[in-house]
């Protein structure tokens, strides 16, 4: 897992136009961000374009990073995902078809459920709860959520990929998100 404290320092120095900090930030985070982009675009050259654009944005606008509000790695991941989603063609069904359906393996393999070094006990606990609550979702809801998140699939892409009507997809996502939140919040309640 990337060291949030280090990434945060590098981002703040980057905001001050420190090219060396920017280079270190790139070396440290580019492999993860490339992976995130590639999972969405499914094409290497497109993923590299996303990575390039995201880092241009970070260099030019890193000042809008609020060190108190967000975890820096999550902030970078969000920039890359948004850019990647914008760039892929919604008509590209070949892209949609090649994604792996086995989201349960993906949950174990591609996500990091161990608490981070700078996590408080409560934050570390949160990872456990989230993982458990994902496990408690209905299979279709979980699959739709993970596919949408990992591969940036739209409602229409999901309907095509899972061979379900659009309405079913929308309600899976809505109910899945709602159950996930309810479950995690239930875990957070003091007992």
């Amino acid at each position: 897992m990337l060291d949030d404290a280090l990434v945060r320092r590098l981002l703040l120095r980057t905001a001050g136009r420190d090219a060396e900090a920017f280079e270190r930030l790139y070396e440290l985070t580019a492999p993860l961000l490339m992976g995130v982009a590639l999972r969405v675009t499914a094409r290497r050259e497109l993923a590299e374009e996303v990575l390039h654009d995201a880092f241009v944005k970070v260099w030019n606008g890193a000042t809008s990073y609020d060190p108190l509000a967000t975890r820096p790695v999550a902030w970078l991941v969000a920039i890359v995902r948004n850019r990647a989603i914008d760039l892929v063609s919604s008509a590209d069904m070949a892209r949609v078809r090649q994604f792996e359906d086995d989201t349960d393996t993906a949950i174990e393999r591609f996500f990091d459920w161990a608490p981070a070094a700078e996590d408080t006990v409560a934050q570390g606990q949160m990872h456990n709860w989230l993982r458990r609550c994902l496990g408690e979702l209905k299979a279709g809801e979980r699959q739709a959520l993970v596919l949408a998140y990992m591969h940036g699939l739209s409602h229409g892409d999901l309907a095509e990929h899972l061979s379900k009507p659009l309405g079913t997809i929308k309600s899976w996502l809505r109910r899945g998100l709602e159950s996930l939140r309810g479950c995690v919040e239930h875990c957070m309640e003091p007992r």
């Binding site: 060396e20 580019a30 995130v36 241009v56 991941v77 990091d112 989230l130 739209s154």
Partner: protein, 230 residues
């Protein structure tokens, strides 16, 4: 209606983070994020509690050309201190500490916020051998000089480019900057401010890494142009 009062706020936060909120709905949500602090804080809550983090298995090495193009597109070399490291190695500690002082001065002159100053073209440097010309432009306050070229020339590993001002009165060439590439933005040394005037010339020579050891051009002059001819 304010989005914060919308019962669907949680659903919107969730779908936004998921990436399934698209088109006008996403733009509306992003506007609300900027304008309504309660929407932003609700999203932050979702982000902190309901978004899992990716692990190392997700990593894929990008090819080296991504960094290369970032470096040139963003002119990153203008934002670092190449002189210090190069001088430090080949001229020893004394020169390095002088360079450190120079760099300290330089870093004070460079605009901190990265706002580019307004530039006025002052000279067109030609090689006389068909290489792409280099355009020199001076900021209105005379403190920043920018060089740009259609095809950026990069000095070899064992050499530097040095930019000289050949004064209008025919005096000795004055060093303006030592450069690795002829696409750069440099602070004009204090002693040369106000001297980049009609009749003077700018020239580029090839020098050992770190610049001329003597303070005068020692290598071949590869480009020259008169100020005021643009």
């Amino acid at each position: 209606m304010k989005l914060a009062a919308n019962k669907a706020l949680d659903a919107l936060c969730g779908e936004y983070l998921l990436g399934t909120l698209r088109g006008p709905a996403r733009r509306r949500f992003e506007r609300a994020l900027r304008e309504e602090p309660s929407v932003a804080s609700r999203l932050a809550y979702w982000q902190a509690t309901l978004v899992p983090e990716y692990g190392a298995a997700m990593e894929v090495k990008p090819s080296a050309r991504v960094w290369r193009s970032l470096r040139s597109d963003l002119h990153l070399d203008d934002f670092r201190a190449p002189l210090l490291s190069r001088l430090g190695f080949w001229r020893g500690l004394a020169a390095a500490s002088t360079a450190a002082l120079v760099l300290l001065a330089v870093s004070r002159l460079l605009p901190v916020d990265g706002e580019p100053p307004v530039l006025q073209p002052i000279a067109r440097l030609e090689s006389g051998k068909g290489a792409a010309p280099v355009l020199a432009a001076l900021s209105r306050d005379g403190r920043t000089l920018a060089l740009s070229s259609e095809r950026a020339l990069q000095a070899g590993p064992q050499q530097s480019y040095e930019l000289w001002l050949l004064p209008a009165d025919g005096g000795a060439p004055q060093s303006v900057a030592v450069l690795a590439t002829l696409s750069a933005r440099v602070p004009v040394p204090e002693s040369l401010r106000g001297r980049m005037v009609d009749g003077a010339k700018l020239a580029v020579s090839v020098e050992p890494p770190g610049g001329s050891p003597t303070g005068a051009p020692t290598g071949p002059v590869i480009m020259v142009g008169s100020i005021g001819t643009v």
